[in-house]
Each structure stands twice: as structure tokens, then as C-alpha cells.
């Protein structure tokens, strides 16, 4: 299908909206009626037609507006994009991966023409037509990682691999769930995850690291992660927390359906060929509670998950104070009927709400 790109904002007046198409394909992150951390990795080799899993780098109706929001964040704070000196080659690897994937997966939107190291890149939605020399930084307006990730939805952490460890040595991070690239850059896998509660004790990170160290070229992996955000604010950075934190207190029984958003990260992992780095795209999808409730299965399940979530997780994810309000709202959409396994809405088979 041809994507109609929205003209919308993720700040101030928050004109962000999901179309029916976007709601239907929203990556609902709960495959059962409860949630606990797990190394929920699977191969990233496509998925149901139209789903966010189908393409290597999903492009949706929010693309153009998200890229505009990213440019604003970077204008205000260039430290959101950083690359340690040894990571430039990985940046070129990433540029190649995204250009190849997007031009193959969305030929009507993106074109890549290569003549040796002379490359021409056409990005129709953003009106870009650039010719440059591959591996020659002086021929691009930004470094290679910054250049291509200004044109790709989601955050990008580029991880160096050495000493059987992953190191957060480069990234483009403007749609993050409250973590700072500027603070975490240079840390190893365990260090940048240090503030996460419970998961260390459960051995989650040891197993995840083992898995990630072995991700092979051409065999990317993926998982979903989630949190909660009041208002469709993409840039929930710690840098600006003193400005957006107050929005969490503006939730009421009347506005929660519209203001409260489930924030889902589609995390993928690709091995890069020349640098042997691992790129970790973290793609953020937002969906309001009221839009989620149009899927009866998601209404039933979200209520049960949020109600039963351990206090530590609700605190870490930053919604412990709003949880009672959420449960009150969500309980209206839970009639106690069983739900089908898996994340898909199963609209044809799940019964409508019985109350």
C-alpha cells in the first residue's frame, strides 16, 4: 500500500494520531495476561503482511513527522547523537544496511543506485536526493550514522563488540524511554542496564548478552519491550524530565483514555559486516488507551497485566502513582472472559466486550 504520511506533532499541542490501520498493526507487547521480564528473543525474518515485523526497518504513517521531531531534538541538544572515534566504520555499515533494506523493502519510497563507491540515495518522503562516496565522510553533510538515522524512525544504539562484551559506543537517541546516551556512552552491557530492577537477579542480562554476542550477519533478532507515557511524547529523555515529568500528574479519569499511551519498543539486533558491531534499533510505537480498547482482547489483557504487575516494575517504568487510575479505567474493558494466546488482536475470533 502507499503510505499516507501524517502531519502531526509529538510535543506541545500533540496532534499525533493513529489511523485505524496503525491501531490494527500496533505491536501489542503482551502475549499472555501477565508480564515478567524474559529474554523474549526471536528471529527477525519478516512476519504477517502489513505487521510491524514484515520489513527489516518498518516505515509507517508517522515517518515524516517523527523525522521532523528528531531534527528539533538535535537542534536543541546535539549530544543526543554521539559516536566514539572508533565507531565510524560501524556507522557506514549501518548506513549501508538501512539504505539497502529500505530501497529493497519500499522501492516506491527509497532508491539506492551504486556505481562502485559512488552512491546515489533518493528518499522521496523526505525529499532527499544525495550523491556521495561510500566510506568518505567528507561527502556527506553529517557522519554516516547521523546522516542515515536522521532518515530512519526509532533510536539506534551501535554496540562495539570486544572482550566478549558489548559496549555502547555510538548512538542516535531521541525517542528514548528515559535514559541518557550522553551519560551511558562508553558503558558495557551490564553497566548501562544497571538501573533496571529485578532483571539482574533473574540472570536476564547474562543470558541476553550471550545471545546477542552470537547474533550472526544476515540473521537479525528482535523482541518487544514496553513502558507507559502520558501524552504522545517521543522525547521522554532524562535531560528534559524536569519539563515533562509534570505531565504525568495531569491524568484524570476523564482524560486518561486519550492522554495515557502504551509505549512499545520494537527492538531489533543486526550484526554489521565490516566492523562486527551490533546495531540495536529501538523503534518506539505509541498508542492511546482509548485506541487500544477498540480491540476487545487487548482491553481484557492490558487490565490484567497492569493490575498484576510487581510494584518494582510499575515504579521503574514510572507509572506507580497513576496505576490506580489506569486500573479503574481499564477494568471497564475487562469482562473476565479468557483471551487467546499471542500478541495479535484476533478481531475475528475474540468476542466483543460482554458488558
Amino acid at each position: 500500500m502507499t503510505i499516507q504520511f501524517n502531519d502531526e506533532t509529538f510535543r506541545d499541542d500533540y496532534t499525533f494520531r493513529n489511523s485505524d490501520w496503525a491501531i490494527k498493526r500496533f505491536p501489542f507487547p503482551f502475549h499472555e495476561d501477565s508480564y515478567m521480564y524474559s529474554v523474549n528473543m526471536e528471529q527477525h525474518k519478516g512476519g504477517p503482511a502489513g505487521s510491524v515485523y514484515e520489513k527489516r526497518f518498518d516505515v509507517d504513517e508517522h515517518y515524516v513527522s517523527e523525522m521532523r521531531d528528531r531534527a528539533k531534538v538535535l537542534d536543541e541538544d546535539p549530544l543526543r547523537c554521539q559516536s566514539l572515534p572508533h565507531m565510524t566504520l560501524a556507522g557506514w555499515d549501518l548506513l549501508e544496511l538501512i539504505m539497502e533494506s529500505k530501497s529493497e523493502d519500499y522501492p516506491d519510497l527509497f532508491e539506492l543506485h551504486r556505481d562502485g563507491n559512488k552512491w546515489r540515495w533518493i528518499n522521496k518522503p523526505l525529499g532527499i536526493d544525495d550523491t556521495f562516496t561510500f566510506l568518505d565522510e567528507s561527502t556527506l553533510p553529517y557522519g554516516p550514522m547521523e546522516y542515515i538515522t536522521r532518515q530512519a524512525q526509532g533510536d539506534y544504539a551501535v554496540l562495539d563488540q570486544r572482550d566478549d562484551m558489548l559496549w555502547m559506543d555510538a548512538g542516535m537517541i531521541t525517542t528514548q524511554a528515559d535514559w541518557s546516551l550522553d551519560f551511558d556512552i562508553g558503558m558495557n552491557f551490564f553497566e548501562w542496564h544497571a538501573p533496571v530492577p529485578l532483571a539482574h537477579e533473574k540472570g536476564i542480562f547474562i543470558r541476553a548478552l550471550k545471545f546477542l554476542l552470537n547474533v550472526q550477519q544476515g540473521a537479525p533478532a528482535r523482541r518487544l519491550n514496553w513502558t507507559m507515557t502520558v501524552n504522545p511524547l517521543l522525547d521522554t529523555s532524562p535531560e528534559h524530565y524536569h519539563k515533562w515529568g509534570i505531565q504525568k500528574t495531569e491524568l484524570t479519569a476523564e482524560n486518561i483514555g486519550q492522554k495515557q499511551h502504551l509505549r512499545v519498543e520494537l527492538q531489533t539486533f543486526f550484526r554489521l559486516p565490516r566492523s562486527n558491531a551490533l546495531v540495536f534499533p529501538i523503534r518506539c510505537y505509541l498508542c492511546s488507551f482509548q485506541d487500544l480498547m477498540t480491540m476487545p482482547k487487548w482491553g481484557r489483557r492490558l487490565h490484567r497485566v497492569i493490575r498484576d504487575l510487581p510494584v518494582e516494575l510499575a515504579t521503574y517504568k514510572g507509572f506507580i502513582d497513576n496505576r490506580p487510575l489506569m486500573i479503574d479505567y481499564l477494568s471497564q474493558f475487562d469482562d473476565g472472559l479468557p483471551t487467546s494466546p499471542g500478541i495479535w488482536p484476533d478481531r475475528e475470533t475474540e468476542p466483543p466486550l460482554q458488558k
Binding site: 549530544l79 541518557s180 550522553d182 551519560f183 551511558d184 556512552i185 562508553g186 558503558m187 551490564f190 553497566e191 548501562w192 542496564h193 544497571a194 538501573p195 539482574h200 532524562p238 535531560e239 528534559h240 524530565y241 524536569h242 519539563k243 515533562w244 515529568g245 509534570i246 504525568k248 500528574t249 502513582d321
Partner: protein, 198 residues
Amino acid sequence: MSKFEFPPSIPSRPVWGTLEARSGKSHLMIADAEGAEAILDVATPEMMANTHIIFISNGTDYADKLRTLNPAQFYEGPSYPASVQRIQRVLSAAHMGLQVYLAGTESLMGQAMNEAVNAGIPHTAIQTEHRGSTARRMQCVHCKGMTENVEMDPFVCSHCGLNLFVRDHYSRRHAAYQGVCIDAEDPGNVPEPKGIYE
């Protein structure tokens, strides 16, 4: 003087060790204030013949005791910022076989370690020992300014004035812990500060 036992914490929080004399062609020892005691504990005449001590006194009077060790080179500086160019210069001329020892406050060890790492020495090869003040060097995540000698939690950022709480999340590159606004969701509601380890 007894050593402070830091409570167990998260994996990004540095764990400091105890200095031991290692064999090496030369030795660089950087310490501040009570960190001098850790040097005095491990120094031997053989080692001192090839040792450069950089000591930041911070108002203490350990310098004379260190001088009596008779190190090959001795420098006393009034503060870390006053000494950092010298540290960089010394590290830039370092050869294989140099042993680096850091002792004293977390701020001193963190910053000097960063200089050593920038000079190509892996952080795991650097010995450390905490002595003296447990005050922290804190980075405000909002304005990025560093506030030195933070002993209380919460504290006021010395640059932007926000009320920050003290996290254990630590960055070796910044040689600092992270400070985050404590009253963002309830402006003005700032708890009474208490000691970080109280």
C-alpha cells in the same frame, strides 16, 4: 584510619580495591588527601626509586610524609584541576610496564582513571583504593554541569539550581554519578537532605 565500606549497589557503580605493590618498570601514584595513607601502606624503597607521586593535598598535611618516602619524582598540587595537565603530560610519555595507582576520593580516582584510559591504559589494569571523604562528583543530567563534593541527597545543582537526587548510576567517561530532578512531578516538594549513606 579505618576504610569506609560502601554498601552493595548496582553494576555500574565502581568497586574500589586495595593497593598492592606490583612489579613494573615504573610507577605512577596519584592520590588526594587521605589517599596518601594508601600509598604509605604499600611503598617500598625499591618501588619508590621508580615512582612518580602526584599528590593533591586538599588542605591535608600528608605531603611531608610522602616526601620522606623519597620517590623519584614528587609533585604536590593544591587541587585536581590544577594538576590535570601535569597528569596528562606524564601519561602521554608513559611506556609499557607502567603501573598506575589511584587512591583517595572517588572524584580523584574517577577523573585520573579517565585520563589514564584516554592514554590507552585499560581501566581494569589500574589499581584503586578509596580513602577519606565519601563525597561524590555528580553530573546534572539536565544541564550537564558537574557538582563536586556532594555529601547530601538531594542537593542543588551548582550550575542550573535544580533539586537533584543522587543516583548510584555511574559513568566512567564523566567520572561522575548521575543527578536527576527530584521534584519534577511535584515542584517544590523536596525532602530534607540527608547523608548519602545515612
